[in-house]
């Protein structure tokens, strides 16, 4: 199972077994896919802004919406999380690599064809899948319903099958590695929160994806073997199709049994990476470490039994709806624990507003806004009104778009020095921050307003409906403009990466004075991560504000010896005068 340091270019950077290289491969692939997904978003916005221009046919619009969702959910956010998980887990737990390096390599190279198949599906007769990222039958099962339901959907299912296979391989690696390969002294209660996040998300994903697999297999059978699991007799274009007497609702149950936990698979790792980053810049221990983890456990469990709140308007029995509604609202309690812990981590902080911290603060805002909107969608009565509107679009983009991407950006700026040995440029980073966080949150808040005004989602031309004439139509313009600003703002990010790789300030081992294990190795970390001996852990991950004047911290492997954080400390001491040193301490 062991592998030696690779020598050739191909074994070092292409078919690498090294978790760090694989992690970066995932991230770069996610960035490329994000350009596709973002480009689709701009096309969608442009169409909504100027439906009279006839940019593309309504069927094409459905394809673009479908693929925007699919790409963003599975091939951008999921994949970026896989990237960070791969990169961080062995470093944070003091291991030399994943438990199964070959499986890890295989996992990435199963993902690449999945991406290619998804992109290729735009160029087949009928175009890409057009049934929404949820792939509800009959749109996804009966070819006559929509052009994209031909070979495009077959490719979609194939791509997803590869994605699920890849995710499963990666997840098995995450799970086995975190549970079994931690270095000496690193108990579960000393794990950094980011690693906890990957662990919980992985368990959720491994349990939730198989039922979707079963649904996908049955969908394939319905499409190609004439079974009738999901499809029923229907009339299309005055033509009766004898398809049997399946039940489309069944697919929705199976889909959302994955779909809802998947939301948490997407949100938890960025959120927990954020919780990992905040203490470094507040120089305070993370507030309520254990409570956060317990809350996380409760949230994850509940997330598997609330899927029906996506289906209040599907004709499901309303009594079941009531159960789902109550269970959903119960999630508010553990989620509030996480939210309060995030906020309380800022209490009495000596805040260092570096770029990762800015993004982390924006994550807190986005969680607040997004979570609040969720209350209205989890409650059956209000959901019946909101369900077909932009309120839903705004809400889920805030949670699985904004929270996740802002968290991923925070993580990118924070761990970039460890990945490449250089620091990202702070000034460009600030520009990028404001041009990302502001438009993102604003766009989706405005969509909530449109939703309250009744603007229906999935519509090709909002002008068709007279009641949209007032506020709903007027709000389109700021949203579209900000979408463009957001997209162009990302160019600063790319420029920053290129520039920092070339001329960035060398980072050194520990540019942020952080206490977790990944910061004791050189940047970038060498093959095998740690030197001859693995580190031995003697304390928890967030022992900041210790020492005589409260400016020290305990590195996890420091044997209890206080390290003093150096770069900014002289100025900071002057500014604060060390006044609150008395009440700090772990």
């Amino acid at each position: 199972m062991s592998h030696a340091e690779p020598q050739s270019f191909i074994s070092k950077y292409i078919f690498s077994f090294d978790h760090k290289v694989i992690g970066i491969q995932y991230m770069i692939t996610a960035i490329v896919m994000a350009l596709f997904g973002g480009g689709l978003a701009l096309m969608i916005r442009t169409q909504l802004q100027h439906p009279e221009m006839g940019l593309f046919a309504p069927e094409a619009y459905l394809s673009y919406v479908t693929m925007h969702g699919t790409i963003m959910v599975f091939f951008v956010v999921s994949m970026a999380i896989s990237g960070f998980g791969n990169f961080l887990i062995p470093l944070q737990i003091g291991a030399r690599d994943m438990a199964y390096p070959f499986l890890n390599m295989l996992s990435y190279w199963t993902m690449v064809p999945a991406c290619l198949i998804m992109i290729a599906s735009f160029f087949v007769p009928g175009g890409a899948a057009a049934a929404g990222w949820t792939m509800y039958p009959p749109l996804s099962a009966v070819e006559q319903t929509v052009p994209g339901s031909g070979i495009g959907t077959t490719l979609w299912i194939l791509g997803m099958a590869l994605f699920i296979a890849s995710f499963t391989m990666g997840g098995l690696n995450f799970l086995t590695t975190i549970l079994n390969c931690r270095t000496k002294g690193l108990t579960m209660w000393r794990l950094p929160l980011a690693t906890w996040g990957f662990l919980v998300a992985t368990v959720l994903g491994l349990l939730a994806f198989p039922p979707l697999t079963s649904a996908a297999i049955m969908l394939l059978f319905d499409r190609h073997v004439d079974t009738s699991f999901f499809v029923t007799d229907m009339v299309i274009n005055d033509q009766l199709l004898n398809l049997g007497d399946g039940t489309p609702l069944l697919f929705q149950h199976l889909f959302w049994f994955l779909g809802h936990p998947e939301v948490y698979v997407l949100v938890i790792p960025p959120l927990l990476m954020t919780m990992d980053i905040i203490p470094v810049f507040t120089r305070r221990p993370a507030f309520g470490y254990r409570q956060s983890i317990w809350a996380l456990g409760v949230i994850s469990f509940l997330s598997m039994i609330v899927w029906g709140h996506h289906m209040f308007v599907t004709g499901m029995n309303p009594y079941i709806g009531k159960y789902f509604s109550i269970a959903t609202v119960i999630i508010t309690a553990p989620f509030a624990v996480l939210g309060v812990n995030l906020l309380a981590s800022l209490w009495r902080a000596r805040l260092r507003p570096a770029v990762p911290m800015l993004f982390a603060l924006a994550v807190i805002s986005a969680v607040g806004f997004g979570g609040f909107g969720g209350l209205f969608l989890g409650t059956m009565v209000s959901d019946i009104y909101f369900h077909e509107t932009y309120f839903v679009v705004g809400h889920f983009h805030l949670m699985i778009g904004t929270v996740t991407l802002l968290g991923i950006f925070a993580a990118w700026y924070f761990w970039f020095p460890k990945m490449f040995g250089k620091k990202m440029d702070e000034n460009l980073g600030r520009w990028h921050f404001w041009l990302t966080a502001l438009p993102m949150i604003a766009i989706f808040l405005l969509m909530h307003l449109q939703g309250m005004g009744g603007m229906v989602r999935r519509t090709f031309d909002p002008g068709t409906y007279e009641y949209n004439a007032g506020m709903n139509m007027a709000l389109r313009f700021p949203i579209t403009i900000m979408a463009y600003v957001l997209f162009i703002g990302q160019m600063i990010f790319f420029w920053n990466i290129v520039r920092s790789l070339k001329r960035g300030e060398p980072a050194g081992e520990n540019p942020w004075d952080a206490a977790t294990l990944e910061w004791i190795t050189p940047s970038p970390a060498p093959h095998g991560n740690f030197g001859a001996a693995l580190p031995v852990v003697s304390c928890g991950p967030y022992e900041y504000s210790v020492g005589e004047d409260g400016f020290g911290y305990l590195p996890q492997s420091g044997g209890g010896e206080v390290a003093v954080h150096s770069p900014a400390s002289a100025e900071e001491r002057e500014e604060t005068g060390g006044t609150d040193s008395g009440e700090t301490g772990a």
Binding site: S2, H3, A99, A215, F229, G244, H253, F257
Partner: protein
């Protein structure tokens, strides 16, 4: 260089197996839930008559698990019998498929037939995976405990599949 001890590696293998079992359980749970929903909400629900060969196959699968257990207590003598019985099960199931086909029951004949082909086919796919693992374990005996556990698990899944198809 994943640099972990043999002890850790074997702990990893155990976790891997447990996680694999959990995902397969969820996969078949998904199908069972689908079966329950489909059989109670569809307008028509006709049952097909399962070929009696299925019962013979069940006995063969149970016998193969017993052979492997016997081998565990007798220094690995009997592993090959267990594996041979495993192959016999796959062949027997294929024969059962052909019998159904000859009787005019196809995948798309009705929903119960679809579920029969799908569930038993999927189970067979996992059984083939288990056979590959067993064959690998004949060469690398330290893998035998994992392959054997998975094999017993597949026996359990088979009973579960039969129960879903006949009782539910």
């Amino acid at each position: 260089m994943n640099g972990i001890t043999a002890e850790q590696q074997s702990a990893c293998n155990r976790t891997l197996l447990a996680a694999l079992v959990a995902t397969v359980v969820m996969l078949f749970t998904g199908f069972a839930a689908a079966y329950l929903e489909r059989s109670t909400s569809g307008a028509t629900w006709e049952r097909i008559k399962l070929p009696p060969l299925v019962l013979v196959n069940t006995a063969i699968l149970v016998a193969s698990s017993l052979a492997l257990e016997w081998a565990r207590r007798h220094d690995g003598r009997g592993n090959k019998l267990g594996i041979a019985l495993g192959f016999a099960f796959v062949i027997g199931q294929t024969a059962a498929f052909f019998q159904l086909r000859a009787a005019g029951v196809f995948v798309s004949s009705n929903a119960h037939a679809s579920f029969f082909y799908l569930l038993t086919g999927l189970h067979a796919a996992h059984v083939v995976g288990g056979l590959i693992a067993l064959l690998a374990a004949v060469r690398k005996p330290r893998l035998m405990q994992f392959a054997r556990t998975f094999w017993h698990f597949m026996g359990g899944i088979w009973i579960y599949v039969l129960a879903v198809l006949t009782v539910l």
